[in-house]
Amino acid sequence: MAMLEVKNLGISFGGLRAVDGFEMQIEKGQLYGLIGPNGAGKTTVFNMLTGVYKPDDGSIVLDGKDITGKKTIDINKAGIARTFQNIRLFKDQSVLDNVKVGLHNHHTYSTLTGILRLPKYFKVEAEMNKKAMELLKVFDLEDEADYLASNLPYGKQRKLEIARALATEPKLLLLDEPAAGMNPNETKELMDTIRFVRDEFDMTILLIEHDMKLVSGICEKLTVLNFGQVLASGNTSDVLNNPQVIKAYLGE
């Protein structure tokens, strides 16, 4: 069975049908791309997948479990983590702590344990530090571990957001325009990182991106959204050669 099965998903804002009859199937371990013109509804799909918006209709099934309309927290616990189109870091916390917040639900001790500094506190904190540093290393951020997140350059902030999402140990990782604002070299590096994450963590990844180099470089499958509806879907090369897609999205 597919890792993620989305059926007939739809949502309206006032009179605007932002997403309509959206379908998608992602297999475990896939690197999947969601592309489409500006305002097509890609971010809105992410928002429905993660419970930020409640879909008006349709269903979302993750790993056999129906998560339609659930709250963001529960969806995260069920196994979806994401990054945001406009970066949302915990700006006044250190880079390390940003990741440790991500580890929140998997390395626990009670508040009282924390206040009283019982032995468990030290044990779990040490685990968390180790785990967080491992994650930071993947993204080449270990040297900046004690910087304030807001002091990182843009590209590194995007990477940190991915690291934080990964820390929640998701089954499915959603990335919203991870390469936006990066120059070609940084984008190349990012592509390697995403591939590494997929292989190393055995992750399923769904990403939104306008950078065609990245999309064609790493995505195995694509779905194209246009005006809220699926325009095309399938293997990357097929989709990218689809005349309709070229007309609506790629140009020339």
Partner: protein, 236 residues
């Protein structure tokens, strides 16, 4: 005389020096590209020119007038527009109200209406959504709005900070066409882009910024063929 002349500019954030003495100029009618890696100081430079930040040292001359100490809003009414990084649309106002604010410095209602039509023509999506709150637009739509809003002031020079960010490939083409059009209609353009290849392809000249200093400058087409540029910024 150059339209915009930057001389020995130095800018600080608190004690951190972001711009370490740069000089460059922009002639009337040119398209100038400013490229550089993340954190090189491109945004800082643009913000200093339009008075959002103040320079510690150096001077900025706009059409011969020293505007280094002139308050930001006056610089705008002198004919300079700025498409800021991060779009900065007025989220709680409608698309239409945002565009109207773009024409804040202008008086002639007739001309403003004409400009509005022109913007709507370049960005039909904005016309469709003219009553939508800007904050609810998609990322790309907001980028269009930021651009349209800047054009509403009918500037003689326009500063753009990564206008193609977050736009779909087809629209990236479109936006560069629009920039060309703007330039063709006589407006001077100072363009900051991550998409260096595209930027250089439409620019007349370019400057390369690295950690607050200009390290290279020259004809855009020549720079495009410069090996180190190719390697560092064009991803080849």
């Amino acid at each position: 005389m150059a339209m915009l002349e930057i001389k020995d500019l130095e800018v600080y954030y608190g004690v951190i020096q972001a711009i370490k003495g740069i000089s460059f100029d922009v002639n009337e009618g040119e398209v100038i590209a400013l490229i550089g890696a993340n954190g090189a100081g491109k945004t800082t430079t643009l913000q200093t020119i339009t008075g959002m930040l103040s320079a510690k040292k150096g001077s900025i001359l706009f059409e011969g007038t020293d505007i280094t100490k002139v308050p930001g809003h006056k610089i705008v009414s002198m004919g300079m527009a700025h498409v800021p990084e991060g779009r900065r649309v007025f989220a709680e106002l409608s698309v239409y109200e945002n565009l109207k604010l773009g024409a804040y410095t202008r008086k002639d209602k007739q001309e403003i209406a004409e400009s509005l039509e022109r913007v709507y023509k370049s960005f039909p999506r904005l016309k469709e959504r003219k009553n939508q709150l800007a904050g609810t637009l998609s990322g790309g739509e907001q980028q269009m709005l930021a651009m349209g809003r800047a054009l509403m002031s009918k500037p003689r020079i326009i500063l753009m900070d990564e206008p193609s960010m977050g736009l779909s490939p087809i629209f990236v083409e479109e936006i560069f066409n629009i920039i060309k059009e703007i330039s063709a209609s006589g407006t001077t353009v100072l363009l900051v882009e991550q998409n260096a290849k595209k930027a250089l392809s439409i620019a007349d000249r370019a400057y390369v910024l690295e950690t607050g200093k200009i390290v290279l400058s020259g004809d855009a087409k020549e720079l495009m063929n410069n090996e180190s540029i190719k390697k560092a910024y064009l991803g080849e």
